[in-house]
Amino acid sequence: MDLLTFEDVSKAFQIPRQFSDFLFRRPAGTIQAVRSINLEIKQNEILGIAGESGCGKSTTCMMGAGLLNPTSGCIKYCGRDIANMSRADLVEFRKSVQLIFQDPFESLNPRFMIEDIVAEGPRAMKLWPEMEIRKKVSEILWEVGLDPTRFAHRYPHELSGGERQRVGIAAALVCEPKIVIADEPLSMLDVSIRADILDLIKNLAKDRQFSCVYVSHDLSILGNVADRVLIMYLGQAVELGIAKDVIQSPAHPYTRALISSVPIPDPRIDRGVPNIIGDISLPVNAGQGCSFAPRCPYAEAECARRFDALDTATSVHQSACWKSDQCFAGVTDDHS
């Protein structure tokens, strides 16, 4: 059963109207952060979403957690549209879909003790009586590797970056969610401690049986942690498949460029030059068709009109590029 689905979801942000626009009678521009995304997140899977800044992955996260409303399309939790949920359903939704944030320093309230930070969700949503909340807080702190007797009454500024991120994870998991959306949880941590936190997330997902949407720009981490991976570019979903397939045999020209530009920590390997033209642009007043066309070395006139939507219900390796088969012979593998 699909836990969370995005049906043709788009999100546009208005650029605040500048005075010059007013003078020259231009309409305010819009940034299309997300364009016609379809997503199905199933039980017990880790779905990775990768892409560079501006691709819409963070906006997608926020919409998935119900913190932003889509401009068009709908997001459904267990089949019910979250925009039209009853109060009781909304509490259930909030409890079941939680977020882990990127910045371990900023995502914790500096005035709260650790215990209060973790207990805030259940308290705000009145999930359990106070005594039971305290018990669950203790348990979850143990599970993330923090001894409650030592940490419960400390303040965020007394903890290291890794410890703070563990607190963030505890705060998300104490509500016993079914889906955890993790927005780049490792990128602000020192590299030598990332592996432990990654393992923690992987193990907790297995033990506590939740699905995870793991958003990152770091494809090597996704290759390590995710089951399926979705690549996004300027608001569009361009490639989807099993993580290893997408990374080792990328089918979309953007993914190929992306993967070939990741530096490899070994001086003996030369990764070659990524095949891409120009610099990334802002998705302002974007038209139909493929948003990657202006930078694509294989682009044709057709590309400005055509964009193949992906079937995100499966793990079949697909690319939104209609020329994938022609350009990269034998790349698509079929897995059901």
């Binding site: 990127q102 914790l108 005035r111 709260f112």
Partner: protein
């Protein structure tokens, strides 16, 4: 649902002292304010004479317009009233008005600022336009008009002052709320299911506390100055004595040029208390913005 732990309040007060004490001036200011607080508390027992009793010197004459001496350390008025007693009893009035007006004004200002800043949109517009209108009002005339409307009693004086002093803190707290609202821990609170008011009062408020305390101190200072001014202009409560009122009496007596002691005593008290409160608010300013700290 309790938002505040009672046990923690005492701890908090000690913390506040530590914060204030970090700054040299804050420390001086704190102790001066504390001194005035104690005087205000024990005023009736400290004052040697009743404030409006005609006093006579040892030789039987009216102790009129005596400069400071051993018998009358602050001197006397033209009617033989002891200025020291007046000063001490006036301290109580002034401190009370200052505290109450200051606190009421910060409560109004903080709530206006928090709500306007958090919700934005129409709520923000309406609240800020009200604040703007109040900004347009000339301070003293406004208070005087209100006092004239409601009456001269001390309660109305307090109210009138509070109703205008809140305007500055509202603006600043709104700005701070807007910037805190965008921080990740507020987004996190929303993701964990917190409602709007819980976020405002439980998550944002503790983070603007230094600013709040800064303005509380400042508002109290401003209330005291306003009260002194209105009393000096003759719009104070006739029944209670205040430092400004003492200056008014001086003015009425026509002895401003000769009775220098009558002028210095209340004026010095006003300056001392207000400046001390401003020093305390400086200590909070440094705490709220550690970059202002001097290098030691």
């Amino acid at each position: 649902m309790s938002f505040v732990r009672i046990g923690g309040v005492f701890n908090n007060l000690i913390n506040q002292y530590k914060i204030i004490a970090e700054n040299r001036y804050g420390l001086i200011g704190f102790w001066i304010v504390f001194f005035f607080l104690v005087v205000a508390l024990f005023a009736p027992w400290l004052a040697p004479y009743p404030p409006w009793e005609m006093l006579f010197a040892n030789d039987g004459s009216l102790a009129s317009l005596r400069p400071p001496s051993a018998e009358f350390p602050a001197g006397t008025t033209h009617l033989g009233y002891d200025l020291l007693s007046q000063l001490i009893l006036a301290t109580r009035t002034t401190v009370m008005i200052g505290l109450i007006s200051g606190v009421i004004s910060i409560v109004i200002g903080a709530n206006v600022g928090l709500i306007a800043g958090y919700f934005g949109g129409l709520v923000d517009e309406v609240l800020m336009r009200i604040t703007d209108i109040l900004y347009g009002m000339p301070f003293l005339p406004f208070v005087i008009v209100l006092i004239s409307l409601f009456g001269r009693q001390i309660e109305y004086v307090i109210l009138a002052i509070a109703l205008i002093v809140w305007r500055t803190s509202a603006r600043v707290i709104r700005a701070q709320t807007i910037s805190i609202k965008q921080r990740q821990f507020v987004v996190a609170a929303r993701a964990r299911g917190c409602g709007d008011f819980r976020i405002i009062y439980r998550h944002i408020l503790p983070n603007i506390l230094p600013l709040l305390l800064l303005y509380t101190s400042f508002n109290i200072a401003w209330s005291i100055v306003t009260e002194a001014s209105t009393s000096f202009l003759g719009f104070g409560d006739g029944e209670t004595i205040s430092w400004g009122g003492m200056l008014y009496e001086l003015w009425l007596s026509g002895k401003t040029r000769t009775a220098w002691w009558w002028f210095i005593a209340p004026a010095a008290c006003i300056v001392a208390l207000v400046t001390s409160l401003v020093f305390v608010s400086r200590a909070y300013e440094e705490y709220a913005n550690p970059r202002l700290k001097e290098e030691r």
